[in-house]
């Protein structure tokens, strides 16, 4: 409720400005503004805000779950974008490049919020469940009974996933980004600014934590006999 109120406050100018033209910032304009500096940066900053704020804010809100922190993160990202504009070579579009900077900032904030405590092997899981990693295709429901089981498992997953996100947003978000963007081990290492070895350990922790927070989902799947 509180979050919703803050989001509405941020959106208060929507109607009064609806008729203003929005100058979309493309990468060529961005590179030119970076080269020219001065007043060109001020206009480009405004265009950057108009072009990308809404999308980045929603993404930040999903990651940080706090409207003020999300707004702060996006504006901080825009400042970093200009401080690092010389490093943008124009090989990709602007948004993916900005998104990486945003995620670095999000990770910094999440690390400040939560100290990373390694989990022991198999914490929260029985050996049976660990061994019973299941085939859980959402499309494979043949009978009404199987469909009901699928729905139940999906609800249990959602409950556990939300808890994972709330308690340990760093690992949960990195898992979500892996799903969203198909990140490889090297790309995750760059994102986390860690060595490949430390990144492997981090990914291992993601898996262990998922198994812990989603233990009920794993157990349901094992009980349904859908074992590989």
């Amino acid at each position: 409720m509180h979050e919703h109120r803050k989001e509405l406050i941020y959106g208060y100018q929507a109607d009064s400005c609806a008729l203003q033209a929005v100058n979309r910032l493309d990468k060529n304009t961005f590179i030119r503004a970076c080269r020219e500096g001065g007043a060109a940066i001020e206009q480009a900053l405004r265009d950057l805000d108009r072009t990308f704020f809404a999308k980045l804010y929603r993404s930040s809100l999903q990651t940080l779950r706090d409207a003020d922190a999300a707004r702060d993160l996006v504006q901080d990202t825009f400042i970093k974008v200009w401080q690092r504009c010389v490093t943008f070579r124009g090989d990709s579009e602007l948004l993916p490049w900005i998104n990486v900077i945003l995620r670095h900032g999000a990770i910094e904030r999440l690390r400040q919020r939560h100290s990373e405590v390694p989990l022991e092997d198999d914490q929260g899981l029985t050996g049976e469940v660990v061994e019973s990693i299941v085939s859980l295709s959402l499309e494979s429901h043949d009978t009404p009974e199987q469909s009901a089981q699928q729905r139940e498992r999906a609800e249990v997953f959602t409950k556990g996933w939300r808890r994972f996100h709330k308690d340990d947003p760093l690992h949960a978000n990195v898992m979500a980004w892996i799903v969203e963007d198909g990140l490889s081990n090297d790309e995750i290492a760059q994102l986390l600014e860690r060595s490949p070895g430390a990144t492997r350990e981090f990914i291992s922790q993601c898996r262990k934590r998922a198994r812990s927070y989603l233990a009920e989902w794993y157990a349901l799947a094992a009980a349904s006999g859908e074992t590989p």
Partner: protein
């Protein structure tokens, strides 16, 4: 949990699954993708207050020059006049020992451009500060252009980053630092 097992799990989670891949990773991916998105936040595309805040932050980070002066009260003007008188004495004393402040003008093709009233003095100061940070920079002056360049070791050391940050110079990702310094009004 073997390294191969974890690689298969990561590949499946990332959607790079192949036959014989991790069913656990695949199932997790399906469930994560099936999660309902959070309620859509209402965000104005154009928000003057938000833009003003961003511009203020950019000025605070020295990305932009300070804004236009505002209307001042008589008392504040008197106070500022007194302060300026004091500063004038100090400036007169320091004018030959301090380098004028520079402004970051931008960068293109890996060349950082700075603007200052005394480019040569700034060049010498940068070379000295980089030297103090363990970097050997080479200065040059040709065809009215004053600048310096240096090859920074990667990853760039924190003390070198500090020097660059003090002058609003972005850290080059490839370690090749090239700076050109202009006087105001000189293109």
């Amino acid at each position: 949990m073997s390294a191969d097992d974890q690689d298969r799990w990561l590949d499946a989670l990332a959607g790079r699954d192949v036959d014989g891949g991790s069913q656990e990773g695949r199932a997790l991916r399906e469930q994560i993708r099936a999660q309902p998105p959070p309620p859509l936040a209402v965000v104005a595309e154009i928000d003057p207050a938000r833009e003003a805040q961003l511009i203020a932050r950019a000025r605070g980070a020295a990305l932009l020059p300070a804004g236009a002066p505002r209307r001042l009260s008589v008392a504040r003007v008197a106070l500022m006049a007194a302060a300026l008188a004091g500063v004038a004495i100090g400036v007169n004393t320091l004018r030959y020992t301090r380098v004028p402040p520079e402004t970051f003008r931008g960068a293109a093709n890996g060349v950082v451009e700075l603007e200052t009233k005394d480019p040569r003095a700034l060049k010498l100061r940068l070379i000295q500060e980089l030297k103090d940070a363990g970097v050997s920079a080479t200065g040059y002056e040709r065809l009215d252009r004053v600048g310096l360049d240096a090859d920074l070791s990667l990853p760039v050391a924190p003390n070198v980053r500090r020097v660059l940050k003090q002058h609003q110079i972005p850290v080059p990702s490839d370690g090749a630092l090239v700076i050109e310094i202009h006087a105001p009004g000189v293109p």
